[in-house]
């Protein structure tokens, strides 16, 4: 062996040799994909389809409410919610569960200067690291025992994703306050009128809704928006605004619900003082 070795092989040569060895081993000792591996794949696929059908069935049968509509939240949530209404003031937005970890990142980077980190910064860095993983880890060993760094990194990533998803799922109040925390930067960046600033919203309640709901830029174009009065956080009793209904005859019912607390918390940008509210169940 030592006689054969003329010089130390380069890493490229070594990895090529290793792959050639792999190919030779598979050719010599491997088994045919069909039927051996394909059998496993087929069984697994059947399990997947069964699970999906079971989830659909559970969704249907537990959410079919007494009024025979899908609004009743069953084990997996209602089949559909009330129709979208840009005029509501109290709805707490929630993404699908697999975005909860992103969602919760925003609570960690809650200060206006750092929101950018939670929304784009950290996810982008993670994605780039994920894409570059094969180039960061260039050693040829594959056994986990000889890859301690990879093992620790994997455990940390899984743990943090799990914790973030869980925290996002159980967060009492959703993003509204975070979005508000972001507003001052938008205001300065986009040269918005000072009314858009949340600090001023208590004296000029019109700005609150604008800013909490849609992007702050929408403030300029939203003069036609109705139901604005409903955002006034001073009155406690829910009262449907008649102006809203006359101005937007196409929309019925539910809109113009007032949420004094959310409006107030919007003004002060406080997210901890308000009592926990079950988010996502907006079923009244």
């Amino acid at each position: 062996m030592a006689a054969v070795r003329k010089e130390k092989p380069t890493p490229v040569e070594e990895q090529r040799a290793q792959f050639a060895q792999y190919k030779a081993d598979v050719k010599k000792r491997g088994k045919s994909f069909y039927p051996y591996a394909m059998f496993h794949d087929t069984v697994m696929s059947l399990v997947v389809v069964t699970v999906i059908i079971a989830l659909a069935a559970i969704w249907k049968w537990t959410s079919y409410g007494p009024h025979h509509d899908g609004l009743h939240p069953g084990l997996l949530g209602p089949e559909y919610n009330a129709p979208a209404d840009p005029g509501t003031t109290s709805f707490v937005p929630r993404p699908d569960w697999y975005f909860y970890f992103l969602f919760y990142l925003l609570r960690i980077f809650k200060w206006p200067e750092s929101v950018f980190l939670g929304t784009i910064g950290v996810p982008t860095i993670c994605l780039v690291l994920l894409l570059l993983l094969p180039f960061l880890d260039r050693r040829r060993t594959r056994g986990l025992g000889s890859r301690p760094v990879a093992l620790v990194a994997a455990v940390l990533v899984v743990l943090s994703m799990g914790v973030l998803t869980f925290k996002g799922a159980t967060a009492n109040e959703a993003l509204a306050s975070e979005v508000i925390a972001d507003v001052p930067t938008w205001v300065t960046k986009n040269n918005l009128p000072p009314e858009a600033h949340p600090e001023r919203c208590c004296s000029r309640p019109r700005a609150v809704r604008r800013v909490t709901r849609t992007s702050a830029r929408a403030a300029r174009t939203s003069a036609r928006r109705t139901c604005r009065t409903s955002a006034r956080g001073t009155s406690a009793s829910p009262r449907r605004s008649s102006t809203c209904r006359t101005r937007r005859p196409s929309l019925r019912g539910r809109r113009c619900r007032r949420s004094p607390r959310s409006a107030r918390s919007a003004c002060t940008s406080s997210r901890s003082s308000s009592k926990p509210r079950k988010a996502g169940t907006r079923h009244e």
Partner: protein, 284 residues
Amino acid sequence: MTTYKRKPTKGELRSQRLEEVVMYPIDWLEERSGLIGGLRYFLFRKVPGDVNWMQTLGSAALTAFLVQAITGVILAMYYTPSAATDPHTGQPVAWLSIVNITDHLTMGWLVRGMHRWGASVFIILMFLHMARVFLFGAYKYPRELNWIVGVLILVMGMMEGFTGYLLPWDQTSYWATVVGINLNGTAPILGPWLAQFLRSGQEISGETLTRFYSLHMLVIPGGIIALITLHLYLVIRLGVTSPPWSKEAAGMEPSEDGHAPLRPGLTQPVPRGISPQGEPGGSE
């Protein structure tokens, strides 16, 4: 073709003719496209003898994607991506079509439920598949490119989740999308432009809905299908890895210094300086 010493019986002649009839179109296709040979290669290629159940996660994710594709096509036949108000009920047309699919269409609840929960299953399976690849160190040479393709599929899958979430046009989907688009808008330079593009204007409107619908069922799935094709091609070309802890792993596992196999009893190391393409130097 069997040659008979004696005169073939009627039965033999019939089966001979039957074989010709069956084989003719197959041979025709093979001669003109080579597809049959490709299929044969796909089915009867060798995989390592020690592949296990964890390695079915990729095909399970593929199955979930196919479920999404089929149920999505059916849903597209009945869904109307319009935020216009229905004159009879006063509700948005898109929301009404979802209610119709869920409550009135025969088996509509099943198709929609499978699509909705299949999305979650698809995402979960992609993450599990990625974890398996990481665990096995299967992203290493020469499979780096396939890892990158897989990450891109995961990202596009989550984009499918984001765009699909708006389509029911109910409160949950509307406000989650408002927040999601605003988050995109916080990115530097491209952020506002991206938010504007996704919204198709200053605010979320019916145009946003049709835009998301187009992205959700044409643009992103097209990209995913292309990437999955590339992914599978690379899997077939490069082969499936053995579990790194396997006693009969195909390919040698290098030791820490990377010059000798970790388990010399299995396969002799390829002599350095000699072409690695030769026969493996003894085994078992």
